[in-house]
């Protein structure tokens, strides 16, 4: 048991090292574009890590996590645009001013995404199976159409904010420095997930996934456990959305579309459901394929589909499962 744990840790570190090495190598070679690709992989990986907490460890197949990604993005975009105009976001019930400081924006993005996850989770977790998938999807689509029809913040055109938000002591415009911020947050989220999933709470969450009735019979309410996991998951994805908005200096309703929910799910499945670094590997592979295959043909997603099919059929443990040669995780 300990041996496999160590091997898992080694693989997790190797994945992160590879990502960081790619970014640093590209930076030294003066290839800012590749640094940005690595940053995108880190951000998508972070979103996948967030979804993995609910989907992988909790067995909650949410098809609506784009909602939290988009909320994190919109909070960032809205705060940044108000910071540039100097107008308060709202003055009721209390005044919220715009902000262009990441350290202020991130908690707001996570708070908003967490609150949304609390409401969506509280309702959708009363269902299970395919209904849960549909209810989460429906909520995300509601938010998507709301953003589409909200002219104040760009409606379907989206919202640009031109200047990337700031971080004390760093030049966030330098691609490698922004990568460092994203990679650090990714590492923090990974440590957080590792700790939480091994805690009592994590034990209960994984038990509820495997055998809900048994979990109840030892005095644990799966609903409360799952809702907590869903909220934590939404908050991490919200943070990823905030970083993604800053990466592009642009948010649009597309961040909340079912297409985005599916992509986050693909990161998790490609890398390995319920594996700590699976979503990071999955997101990196996704970006790589998008870039390499996308350069060859605009139909690259057909190949992605084939790859996904192969993984689901022949390697349900995803990339990480192939490397560790274990189909399941404990």
């Amino acid at each position: 048991m300990r041996e496999t744990l160590n091997r898992d840790t080694a693989i997790n570190l190797a994945i992160l090292a590879l990502l960081v090495a790619t970014a640093i190598g590209a930076h030294l070679a003066g290839n800012g574009f590749t640094v940005t690709l690595a940053t995108k992989a880190a951000i998508f990986g972070l979103a996948g890590v967030g979804l993995n907490l609910a989907l992988g460890y909790g067995g909650l197949i949410s098809f609506g996590h784009a909602a939290f990604f988009g909320i994190g993005g919109y909070v960032t975009g809205i705060l940044a645009s108000h910071a540039s105009t100097g107008m308060p976001v709202t003055s009721l019930p209390f005044t919220i001013m715009g902000s262009n400081e990441m350290l202020g924006i991130w908690p707001m993005a996570m708070l908003a995404a967490g609150l949304a996850a609390l409401v969506i989770g509280a309702l959708s977790l009363r269902t299970s199976g395919v209904y849960f998938i549909m209810v989460t999807l429906a909520f995300a689509q509601m938010l998507y159409y709301f953003a589409m029809s909200w002219p104040r913040y760009g409606g379907e055109d989206g919202l640009s904010f031109y200047v990337r938000n700031t971080f004390p002591g760093l030049n966030t415009f330098a691609p490698i420095q922004y990568f460092a911020i994203c990679a650090t947050l990714l590492a923090v989220a990974l440590v957080f997930t590792a700790v939480v999933t091994q805690s009592r709470f994590g034990l209960a969450l994984q038990a509820a996934r495997q055998n809900s009735q048994r979990t109840v019979a030892v005095g644990i309410r799966p609903y409360a456990i799952r809702l907590t996991a869903f909220v934590l998951s939404g908050m991490i994805v919200g943070l990823a959305g905030s970083l993604y908005a800053d990466l592009n200096r642009f948010v649009s309703p597309a961040m909340m579309s079912w297409h985005m929910s599916g992509e986050i799910m693909v990161f998790v499945i490609l890398g390995g459901v319920g594996r700590l670094c699976g979503p990071v590997a999955g997101a990196a592979l996704f970006i790589l394929l998008e870039h390499v295959l996308g350069g060859i043909s605009e139909y690259w997603q057909a190949l992605l589909g084939l790859l996904l099919l192969a993984i689901v059929l022949f390697a349900p443990g995803g990339l990480i499962g192939i490397v560790t040669r274990r189909g399941r995780h404990a």
């Binding site: 091994q198 009592r200 994590g202 019979a217 005095g219």
Partner: protein, 254 residues
């Protein structure tokens, strides 16, 4: 929690009734489980034993009637809350967490019983408040040395023992065992009979069982359920001699 008075029932079921459409699955059932006893619940297939168990543990709500546990009315409590009060249950088909080790399964039960599940920080496997009681109950249930084995790879008999270890971890005030002998071989059944005989020292047992040898060997009292109705309650000798029971269930050769 106040100690119940001597011989006051731990579990007291009064006038329980449950119907599914036209089918009356539980028909005015009253039943006691007294301290220290093994009370067997027998009856033909479809008599409503499982439905009755599900109402006691809180999985389904009765249409009428009331259930007291250690003097407290538990009708409005959900299944998790009843388990935390010490109503420990085993399942007809062994029910464990397959990808967890034996140790993790029992740790889950210890954590559940403690009521403190929302701990996010300390690794569960390093939490001696979980591991120590868990290892103790694993040994108690006869699984010593098997604690690092994944539950999915246990034999049927071992999985039964794991369920008992999990029940013990709830610091039970009463056991509800749903056909624990099902699927056990002759030797396994004999072993389990020994374990159940010891379990009664922890808490009284309401035992749903088809294996009449085990029932007659273990039970202090027997209740016979037929078509959702209890047709007789009494000692082993009384039940064996009861003509109605012989006719409707035991058959003439019993």
């Amino acid at each position: 929690m106040p100690e119940p008075k001597l011989n006051e029932p731990i579990l007291e079921i009064r006038g329980l009734r449950k119907s599914f459409g036209a089918l009356v699955a539980t028909d005015d059932v009253s039943l006691d489980l007294r301290p220290g006893e093994i009370h067997a619940l027998i009856g033909p297939n479809g008599a409503g034993k499982s439905t009755l168990i599900k109402q006691i543990v809180g999985e389904i709500r009765p249409d009428a009637g009331t259930i007291r546990f250690e003097g407290q009315v538990i009708d409005t409590l959900d299944a998790a809350a009843r388990a935390r009060l010490g109503l420990a249950r085993s399942f007809q088909v062994s029910s464990v967490i397959p990808d967890f080790t034996v140790l993790q399964n029992v740790m889950l039960a210890v954590a559940g019983a403690s009521g403190a599940v929302f701990r996010f920080h300390l690794p569960a496997l390093a939490d001696r408040k979980l591991t120590e009681p868990a290892l103790f109950h694993i040994e108690q249930a006869g699984l010593a040395g098997r604690h690092l084995v994944p539950a999915a790879t246990l034999s049927h008999g071992e999985r039964r023992k794991l369920e008992i270890a999990m029940a013990l971890a709830l610091r039970p005030r009463a056991f509800l065992l749903d056909e624990p002998m099902a699927g056990m071989g002759l030797e396994g059944g004999r072993q389990l009979t020994g374990i159940l005989a010891e379990l009664r020292n922890e808490a009284p047992i309401l035992l749903v069982e088809h294996d009449m040898d085990a029932v007659f060997a273990l039970a202090d009292r027997i209740s016979v359920l037929v078509y959702g109705r209890i047709i007789a309650t009494g000692s082993v000798a009384e039940i064996r001699a009861n003509p109605e029971v012989r006719r409707s269930y035991l058959g003439e050769d019993a």
